[in-house]
Each structure stands twice: as structure tokens, then as C-alpha cells.
């Protein structure tokens, strides 16, 4: 299953893209790569 998400959050301010994506990935621990094959992400600081 593929999902796509655009996440904008003040918490992303000052973080690198990798750090921003990790924060979102962490919510899905254990599911990404198994139940969820891929999650396309675009993150943005607000």
C-alpha cells in the first residue's frame, strides 16, 4: 500500500529534511516497510 502525505508543522522549524521526515516516520514505527510499503512525504515548517 502506498500513501502520500503533506505535513506542515511549526515543530519542523530549524530541522533538516531528514529530521522532519523521521518525526513523521516515527509515528508509524513498525508499519512502514511492512503494512505500509511506502509513505511519500513532503514536510514543511510553518
Amino acid at each position: 500500500v502506498h500513501f502520500s502525505a503533506h505535513v506542515a508543522a511549526p515543530a519542523f522549524a530549524g530541522l533538516s529534511r531528514v529530521q522532519q521526515h523521521r518525526m513523521v516516520y516515527d509515528i508509524f514505527t513498525g508499519e512502514l516497510g511492512s503494512a505500509i510499503h511506502a509513505l511519500s512525504l513532503k514536510t514543511e515548517a510553518t
Binding site: 512502514l32 511519500s40 513532503k42
Partner: protein, 130 residues
């Protein structure tokens, strides 16, 4: 060295290759659309990179993700740092930042290191020069 030879081999491959892409399949025969797009972006920039196919052994992916704290494939590392997965590489490519991240814009680049030790099976890093 830890007591985990596979994780050590992965770390060594990351350390020894300035640009290394962990992907499903190979640049010639990618086995996943995300890996295909990411390796195509690198190839279009004419950058030398090592490519590691994670499919032959599921432990490669397990250890890589444990090491990088990144759950998905592909994963691009430049000079030992995780640059990101397919989305971030695509973003960097589209914004024109990717060559700078890869260091290909730099003049008189230092020749890349040779690939990882082929004896470190089941992890095989194929060095792609030129």
C-alpha cells in the same frame, strides 16, 4: 567492531563511498519505482556512486534501517550522512540543490574511493565509476 558483522559491513560501505545508494535492485534493473527514480536522478547528474541492492538478504534492510533510523528504501548517503529517501532526493533534484549536496558542482573533485570489500558478503557494493 561490534558483534554484528553485517551492520559493520554496511557502516564500512557508507564510510568508504562518498555517494552510496541503498536500493531495491540495481541502477540497470531497479525493482521498485522509488529506487528507480532515485538512481535515475543520480545517473542524470553523472555522479559516481556505489549502489547496494538490499533485496538478496532481508537482514541488509533490517540492519541498514537500524543503523540509519530510516524505515524505507531507497536511502542515499553522502560522505557518511543520510541525505534522505526518494522524496527528499526528488525534492533536492527538482530544486537544483542535488548537485551541490553530491559535491559534483565542486571543481577538481578528488577521485572516489574503490568499492567496499567484496568479501563482506552478503552485502555487495558495486562501484559505479564514470
Amino acid at each position: 567492531m561490534s558483534d554484528n558483522p553485517l551492520r559493520d559491513a554496511i557502516q564500512q560501505a557508507i564510510d568508504e563511498n562518498d555517494v552510496i545508494l541503498f536500493m531495491k535492485g540495481t541502477p540497470e534493473q531497479p525493482m521498485c519505482g522509488f529506487s528507480a527514480r532515485t538512481s535515475a536522478a543520480l545517473q542524470s547528474l553523472d555522479v559516481s556512486f556505489a549502489a547496494v541492492d538490499i533485496l538478496p538478504d532481508p537482514r541488509i534492510r533490517q540492519e541498514l534501517s537500524a543503523l540509519s533510523s530510516w524505515p524505507t528504501i531507497p536511502q542515499l548517503f553522502v560522505k557518511g550522512e543520510l541525505v534522505g529517501g526518494a522524496d527528499i532526493v526528488a525534492e533536492l533534484y527538482e530544486s537544483g540543490e542535488l548537485p551541490e549536496v553530491l559535491g559534483v558542482a565542486a571543481p577538481a573533485g578528488v577521485p572516489g574511493q574503490a568499492g567496499a570489500d567484496p568479501a563482506s558478503a552478503p552485502l555487495t557494493a558495486e562501484n559505479r565509476l564514470g
